[in-house]
Every structure is written in C-alpha cells, then in structure tokens.
Amino acid sequence: MNISFFVGVISIMVVFLYGCIGEIITEKSGHLNLGTPGVMCFGATGAVVGARIFINITGGPDAVRDGAGSPVLGIFLLVLFCLIFAGIAGLLYCFLVDTLRCNQNATGLVITTLGVGIYKFIGSILCPQVDRHGFTAIGRRFFSSPLPVDFRNSNWFTQLFLSYSTLVYIAIIIAIIVFIIIKKTRIGLNLRAVGENPGTSDASGVNVTRYKYVATIVGSLITGLGGLYYLFDYNTGSMEYSLEGLGWIAVALVIFSIWNTGLAVFGSFVFAFFYQLPTPLSNIIKNEAISPLVSTLPYLITILVLITISIFNKKETQPPSALGLTYFREDR
C-alpha cells in the first residue's frame, strides 16, 4: 500500500464525511432522516443544474473545455444550486414530518427514492452523452484541481496532506466547527436537548419546531455538498456511478461515530479505508470473493459498534432518546 492508496482513501472519505455530518446534525434534533442518500442526490442534481446554466452562459461545452468562463462564477453557480436543491429536500422532509406529522422513516425513504430518481432523470436530460466533456471540464478546472500550489509531486507529507481540493479541507473544518457548536455552545445545548427530550426543551422555552427545521435543513445542505463533491470533484463530472450506496454508508457511519462529528472524521476514514481496500488487495490475493467480502467490513464494524454501545450502556453514547419520534405539544 503506497501513498496514492491513502490519498484515494481520503478522497472518498470526504463523501461519507459530508453525509455523516449532515445526518448527525439532523439526528441531534430528533429527526431520523433516512433520506440522506436522496439528499446527496438532490445536491448533486442541483450541481448539475448549476453546471448546465454555466455551460449555457459560457457558450457551450467546448468553450468551457477550452477555458472560457470565470471559475468564480462556475463554482458559485454549482454550489448555489447544490445548496438550493439540498435545502429543498431538507425543507420537504421537515414539512412532511413536523408540519404534517408524517412518519419519519417512511418520509426519509420517500426522500431517498425521490432524490435518486430525480438525479437519474435530470442528469440524463441535462447531461447528454454528446457534451459530457463540458461537465468533465468543470470538474477538472474548478473542483478536482488541488490547492493553489500543486503539491502532488512533492514529498510524501505534502502528497498525503496537502494534495486535495478545497472541498476536502472544508469538510474537515465543518466537522470541527459542528463538533464545537454541539458540545460547547448554547445553540448546541438546545439542539441536543431537542433531540433528547422535545417536551422538556419546549417547556424550557426552546422553539422545538424551529430547531428541528433549521437543524435538518443545515444538515441537508452539508449532505448535499457531499453529492456535489462526489460528482464534480471525485468523479470529475462523470455521472456513471451511483451515489445512493455512498449515502447509506454515511447513515451507517453516524452510528459508528456515536453521533459525534469529531469521531465522524475518524469513522469516515475507517469506512473509506475498507471501501478502497479491495482494489490493492485483489492484486495481492487472487480470489474473486475477497473484494466483496472486504467491502462488507464497514457494516460489520457498525454492528460491532452497536453491540459495544449496548454492552456498556452508557447514556452518553446512546442515540438521542427522541430520535424518530414526532413531537406535538398538546399530545397527552
């Protein structure tokens, strides 16, 4: 295993990390949003819409490939539409669950199905095979290029730590900021309380509905960025690969990281490690069964984590107690 393997691990880990942070924020408010894969797809779809608009403004895919159009505008459009789409997905979830009081699990699954469908549908309309190179160019030029200084060919340290695109660093910064907010601030305290016991929070003067809405929408925005990253950064604009599976890994990762975004950074690395492991492993062990077996490891570890949490039965490592429950003040 060489440096480039770990570089690959860190690159894919960021997709999980975005999804995981988003879902942790959401779950801290007591919303079990199984729509995470869907929200990622919503984010990616938004990015595709943004990319298409940029291509049209700039004058076609060929012009983009040849370096036309300002990077600032391109990045702005993609991120903006990504956030709008992901935000709408989060808003839809909140509206269904909080305002119309639908079942959380069912709503989440609906969001996933909807998101995956929209991604495939809009993707195939806005990104026809013939001018795919426009998308690829956007990915290459704006996203997957590393920091202003190119470290990719220097020593191992810079390769391992400084050779990624901005979205990778942003993910880790978001993880740390969210960790601090949840653990140390007034807003974090209120958010945790809403997920633990909405009735108590309400009686204490916390606006439960607002916290649930804001947390879920902010969570969705972050999750959506994962979709943007995967499509335009990791896959440089190629829509061949499915996003859904990665979304589910992010959901499992929330349990692995016991609802702690700090641990999520470590957890996403572990998951990404096993996600990437089959490739180098299949070069060493010539057995076709190896790679699918190894890819199940993250899920097995998640089960082990669940068992460990259950054995120690420590209150602090349990999921938010009101997770998945709908709160209505006048329920008796």
Partner: protein, 609 residues
C-alpha cells in the same frame, strides 16, 4: 401570615375554556393568584387542575378566555412566553433531559435576552456595591474593578461553569441541596424535583406552579420541600400546588381552590375550612369515608412463598428470604417504605423476575373439579391418573387401566374425571405465559400502569385484548369479545372516555387505572395482586377500587394489596405483612393493629410482633 393582605393579583384567569376532542377539560375557569401566597388547587382526577395550570404555563392554548399577569393582558403562546412573565412550572412528570447535568438542564432554553438580563442584574449589584464603598470614602481598587467587569462579561453569555456557581449561590439562599454537575439519570426523585424548582428560580420565576409535588416523596423529603416553599413565599413569590392530598392542603396552603369536572367550584381560605368541607366541595356529593370490609369466609391457603430472594435490576438483593401465605377470601396487605422490595416481590410471583432462591407454590383449587383438555394433554392426564390424581363422580380412584385413548377422551369430555385434591404447581422458573397456560390465573395491577399494565398508544379495546389475543377465529383476532368486555368495564366502573376506540394516553390517570383493574378482574383470577392501585387517584375512584378489591375477596380470590396509606391498609386488609428493607418484619391482624405499630415495624426488622 403575610398572605393575601397585600391583595396584589399576580395572575388572573378569566373565563378560560379548553376542550380536548369532545371532552371539556376546563369550562369558564376564573381564578386569582395573589402575591406572596401559597394556593392549593384541589380536585379529583380529570377535574381540570393540571389543564388550567398548563394553560398558564403555555403548554396548552386556551380555546376561550384570557389571562392577566400583574393586571395586564398576557399573550402566552408558548412555555417561553410564560417564562418571560415569570411563571415557572414543575410538572408531575419531570421535564428534564436525562443525559444532561443539573446545570445544563437549568440553562437549557435561555436566550440572548435572558443572558443580557443576567448581566444587567449583576452590573446593578456591582454598582450598588461600589456605591456603598464610595460612601465609606473608599475607591474600589483597579483589581476589584477588573474582577467585576469579568463577572459581568461572564454573565453575558453561555457558560456552564459560570452557571454552576450561580446555581450554588441560589441553592444556599433557599436551602436547596443540589450538585450542579450531577447527571440527571443519577438523581433521586427528590433531587430531580429540587432541580426543577431551582430551574424555575434561575429564570427569576415569581410564580411557581408545582403539579403533585409530594406524590413521589418520602415524609422527610416532603417536610424539606414545604420548608423551601415557605422560604420562597416569605421571599414574596406566589406558589401554586396542585394536589389531592387533603392533609397537605391544610398544612401548607393559604387558600384552596377547588375544581370539579373542569370547573372552578370555589376558593376558600384554608384556616376557615375543614377537610370534610373540602371533600364535599371536591366530589360534589358527600362521600362515605368508610371502606367496606367483609368478614373472610372459606379461607384456604392459595399461594405459598417460601424463602424467596429476588434481585432488582441493578443486581442488588431486594427481597431477602421472604416467606408468607396468601389465602383465598382474604386481603393480604403489604406495607413498607416504598422501595422495600414490594415491586420485585410481585413481579417475581407474576413470573416476570427470576428467583435467586426459594420457591412459589400455587395451590390450584381443583378438588372435585373436572379435568379438561383445555389445560392438559391426554398424555399428561394419563400420567396424573397413574399417580392417583383423579376420582370419578362416585369417589373411586381412576387409573384408566385397560381403557383406550378414545374412551379416556370421552370420559374427560363428559366431565367424569375429577381431581382428587388441589393441584399443586411450583411457579419457579415459569414465565407469565407458561403460568397462564397451566391454567393459573394471576392478575397483576402493576405500579407502573402505562409501562407494564397498558400500552398508552393503543385504544381501549386493544388494551383489553392484551389478555385475550390468543383466543380468536383461526388466524384472525377476535375484537368483538374484548369490545363487549371493555364496554362493560366502562359502564360498571364509570370510566370517563369518549369511546372504546380512544387511545389510553388520552385518558386521565384514574380512568386508566379503572381500565386496567377492570381488565384484570375480568380474568376471574385466583390471585389478584395490586401495587399502589390508587396512587394518583381521586377519592371516588379510590373507593371504587377498594370496593372492587373487597368484592374480589368475597368471591374467593386471594388478594394481595401493596399500599402506602396505612389508614387504608388498616381499613381494607385482613392481614398485613410489613416489609423492611426486603425482609419481613412481621405480620399483623389489620383489625387489631395500630398505625404506630406498623410504622415502627416498617423501619425495624423483626422484633415487634
């Protein structure tokens, strides 16, 4: 008493009406609360006491009417609004976050405005302190100024450490004992209550509403609570206590407001009334305070508990070498300070808790009763017959020798195979289902009604069916019989519910209990166990339950009653077993014993007999 003399109204409810579904919880309630008084709100279960207070605290929005705070029309749309008006409520079921520390729970929900107010208050304090100093001709030193600046700034924003020290200060002032860094899940009930009160005071609450604050406290804890409440009253705060314990009303309150069926009947001054008058107002008609107790007839030993030891959930032995007999036609009372192992004892008998040692023997009254295939297989009957367990109607032993299976079946179905003596069953190691399949009907009214007794999200019919879901047509459930049964229970026990398809969670505590007791009695049990069946119930419902228990006893059931009110135990039971710390400290005859005698036994092992 510095009570109503000042006559400043802090809260006025005007024509408050609140309807849940088709049930009117509050109808045209008018109520005043004065500054510096303790007001008791008295009423039966479901009389609208808690609803009216929940309206003041912003949990429920009134359908009609208005609230005036300090003479001004108040707009209370949420608990937060209510807090802004200086109203704090301690709910019957505490509203605390388990995984948070005391301090975290206290600062929960405070917003920027609150912190600004804290800072302002501290600034004022510091200023006045400095002004005092200056009066004495001293100038505060540079360091002192810095220190005070620091203190003001610390109060401006969220800071757990700072909050903890403020909480400590406040606890010292009123005489609370509270560790700000203790997690709620490690706290006792009394600590949680203290925390709730401190939480309200931390928000500068001037009006404190306590919903059934003494229901879960020990007598010593109640004394402490009352002392603190009086301290707060003397500090000029107004306190509302929702309760139905009449002696406490008389002891603590300045005025009593009585609620009946959602309406505010009257408010009287405590020192101008009597328990009798209050009871009359509360229930409308006069109630007979005598509990019926029939003389036991046909007493027979039914359930033997021999040298039983049981552990609680934490693995501590809470029932230690306990032996007793429960007899049919008798009510056996179990007295003891709460937590002396009563709960675990009943659960062990019911088959819900593994026995550490000892055994539970049930004498099934089968003598001269026919054996059936309902509980026994053919094989089992043959085996029993070999041991001489049966006789025929003429009194001769049956051994089925030389009979074909068909003939045996016919004989059993013709009810010609009768038990020679009572069936003796050891319940050790059997779960509730196995026990029931043996044909042993134990009814159990657990302490925790909604946790173990009923499912709060299911309706009345489905809850009734929990005991009979196995009887159905083929693979389908039989809903008709449970529905008829619950209709009967509703009628006989006077359960107040919109209908049989109402969720249990929508009923008030007393009605929930009636449904549970009714269902358990309908099983036609041989042993009826009830743990605190009247806890949280009003007087009328309590008497209904007492009479039901007595009726059960008369019909030849062995009743085990775990209670906390010694007067009731003495008036209702035939024998009383007193537990202390998981051991039996003695049995007394309920007709002869005194309260003092039992009280002494509750705190000491053995000696007194």
């Amino acid at each position: 008493m510095l009570t109503t003399s000042n006559n400043i109204k802090v809260v006025e409810l005007k024509n408050i009406t609140k309807v849940f579904g088709s049930k009117v919880a509050n109808l045209n309630v008018n109520l005043d609360l004065y500054k510096g008084e303790i007001l008791s709100i008295l009423g039966e279960n479901g009389s609208g006491k808690t609803t009216s207070m929940n309206i003041i605290s912003g949990l429920y929005a009134p359908d009609e009417g208005s609230i005036y705070i300090n003479g001004e029309l108040a707009k209370i749309n949420s608990p937060h609004d209510s807090l802004m008006y200086g109203i704090g409520m301690v709910h019957q079921h505490f509203k605390l976050v388990d995984v948070f520390t005391a301090a975290e729970n206290i600062v929960l929900g405070l917003d920027k405005q609150d912190y600004a107010n804290f800072a302002k208050k501290i600034e004022e304090q510091e200023e006045s302190r400095f002004a005092e100093l200056r009066k004495q001709g001293k100038e505060p030193s540079e360091e002192e100024l810095k220190e005070s600046k620091k203190r003001i700034n610390a109060a401006k924003s969220f800071n757990i450490k700072n909050a903890a020290s403020r909480i400590k200060e406040m606890c010292d002032r009123y005489g609370f004992e509270l560790d700000p860094n203790k997690k709620v899940y490690n706290m006792t009930v009394s600590e949680k209550q203290t925390l709730e009160i401190v939480k309200a005071l931390y928000r500068n609450a001037n009006i404190l509403i306590l919903d059934e604050p003494t229901a879960v406290l020990t007598p010593q804890e109640i004394d402490r609570l009352f002392m603190v409440i009086q301290n707060m009253r003397n500090d000029g705060k107004s306190i509302v206590i929702i309760t139905h314990k009449l002696n406490e009303v008389m002891r603590i309150s300045d005025r009593v407001a009585i609620f009946r069926k959602g309406e505010h009947v009257a408010t009287v001054e405590t020192n101008k009334t009597s328990i009798k008058e209050l009871t009359d107002m509360m229930v409308g008609a006069k109630v007979d305070l005598e509990i019926e107790r029939s003389t036991p007839t046909d007493v027979a030993d039914r359930l033997f508990v021999n040298n039983l030891s049981v552990k609680n959930n934490d693995g501590r032995v809470v029932i230690n070498d306990v032996s007793f007999v429960a007899r049919s036609g008798e009510i056996l009372g179990i007295a003891g300070i709460s937590g002396s192992g009563q709960k675990e004892l009943l659960e062990a008998i019911q088959g819900l808790r593994p026995l550490e040692s000892g055994e539970i023997i049930f004498h099934n009254p089968k003598k001269d009763k026919p054996a059936t295939f309902f509980h026994k297989t053919l094989k089992k009957i043959k085996a029993l017959a070999a041991h001489g367990a049966f006789h025929d109607p003429d009194g001769k032993r049956i051994n089925f020798k030389g009979m074909s299976n068909k003939e045996i079946r016919k004989m059993v179905n013709d009810c010609k195979v009768l038990f020679y003596e009572d069936e003796i069953v050891n319940l050790k190691g059997k779960n509730p289902l196995q026990i029931r399949e043996l044909g042993i009907r134990l009814s159990f009214v657990p302490e925790d009604r909604l946790g173990m007794g009923l499912v709060s999200n299911m309706n009345l019919v489905d809850n009734t069916m929990l005991r009979s879901y196995r009887h159905g047509h083929w693979i389908f459930l039989d809903r008709e019989r449970p529905r008829k049964l619950i209709e009967k229970i509703i009628k006989e026990l006077d359960v107040s519910t919109p209908g049989t398809n109402t969720q249990i969670s929508k009923l008030s505590g007393g009605n929930v209990q009636k449904v549970l007791v009714g269902r358990e009695i309908a099983l036609a049990p041989k042993v009826f166990m009830a743990a605190y069946p009247v806890r949280g119930l009003d007087i009328n419902s309590s008497y209904t339950i007492y009479n039901l228990l007595d009726k059960q006893k008369c019909s030849g059931i062995a009743v085990i009653y775990v209670g906390e009110d010694l007067d009731v135990l003495l008036a209702l039971c035939d024998r009383i077993m007193v537990l202390c710390d998981g051991r039996i400290s003695g049995f007394v005859d309920a007709r002869k014993a005194t309260k003092e005698q039992i009280g002494e036994m509750m705190t000491r092992h053995g000696e007194v007999q």
